[in-house]
Amino acid sequence: MFDTALTSSDFLFLARGAGMTLLVTAISVVLGTCLGIACGIFRFQVGPWWAAPMTFLLDIFRSIPLLIQLVLVNAFLGMVLKLKISGFSVACGVLTLYTAAYCAEIVRGAIEAVPGTTRRAARSLGLTWWQDMTSIVLPLATRVALPSWIGLALGVMKDSALVYIVQVTELLKATQILITRLQEPLLLLMICGLFYFVISFPLARLGGYLERRWSND
């Protein structure tokens, strides 16, 4: 089963694809989380009515396929606005907004989970809104949000497999390229799947563990 035409340079090629997957994921998750936190806090602070336009906008990213988002944004920036933007930037941009859309919901839920009475107590000790946010809400909300956030980050990593559509050669695309040349689909797909699994599985387990631990106290 393991007599394969796979050479070390092919592995390097796959590794570069994996690197691209991780790079796109890292950039999108970092930027998307920042944006998502801002949107989540905004949504909580101004209430559902005033945040409705933003909520609607973010909801779009959760209601149409990522493939279409990528194609559309790519076409809009390039065809309509005639901007020269690399596929990599488009991929990161769309995945950032995609992350932010989910992250905002997680953040809002987590802030809502901090009891109002606890926040009242902080304010009546003289803490400012900002101090209350950083010293009380942030640590408490983080506990609620972190497990879901880990799930989100892993989800983004898996969904980043779709950025091939804007000419970014990430892991799965790299695998397909090699399948084209080597005609060993099963072996190559197994290697590819294993890579995702090895990254995703332990982190998902960590998320589950944190969730269990923090829901106990």
Partner: protein, 246 residues
Amino acid sequence: DKLDDIISSGTLRCAVVLDFPPMGSRDADNNPIGFDVDYCNDLAKALGVTAEIVETPFPERIPALMSGQVDVGVASTSDTLERAKTVGFSVPYFAFEMVVTASDKSGIKSFDDMKGKTVGATAGTFEAIALEKQVTEWGAGEFRPYQTQADVFLALSQGQLDATVSTSTVAQANVKTGNYPGIAVVGKAPFDIDYVALFTNRDEYGFINYLNLFVNQQVRTGRYAELFEKWVGGEVPSLTVPNAYR
């Protein structure tokens, strides 16, 4: 205009399909090679810039141009009138004949044998559009468009497809690699000759002019025949249609 932009930027970005041997593929180090790759390099040399090969699957060729990812398509693109509404084509730089490739097990010996079978082609190509129409006409069998030419041949050799229609050069090249055991070119497909052209934005007349002259020069200087010999071999197809101007 675009011609100036390319010259001043110093790079020419070509959309090339890289799972379409011999027009475009990858070598053992996964570097792009093929007729289209060389053609792009020639064009870049003529312009005095360096070439950058951007791999695009078939369905993404024109979107990649429209969204500014590439400057020109050197991607074996059929010059249909429908498409010409959106992009600007040069004169043809290559011509394909369509052939039927079938798996041995299917028992298909000619184009008409394909009736009622499961057939496929690369989504968004000239032959895919024609074949799908044909299957609908037959009213029997199934048509499956795959995202890449490679997926089509993979499906064919795995037995998921009974036959495919593709350009003769591509079919020959793929069968020759030996990567796909159990398939063979069995005959011609009665489709028109598929003339393919370079394309760029519809309104870039200056650049289109340049591309037309470039195609002409390639034939004139014998470079076209040279590249054909290198990648395909055999009789060099004519790029002009008798009794018509272009």
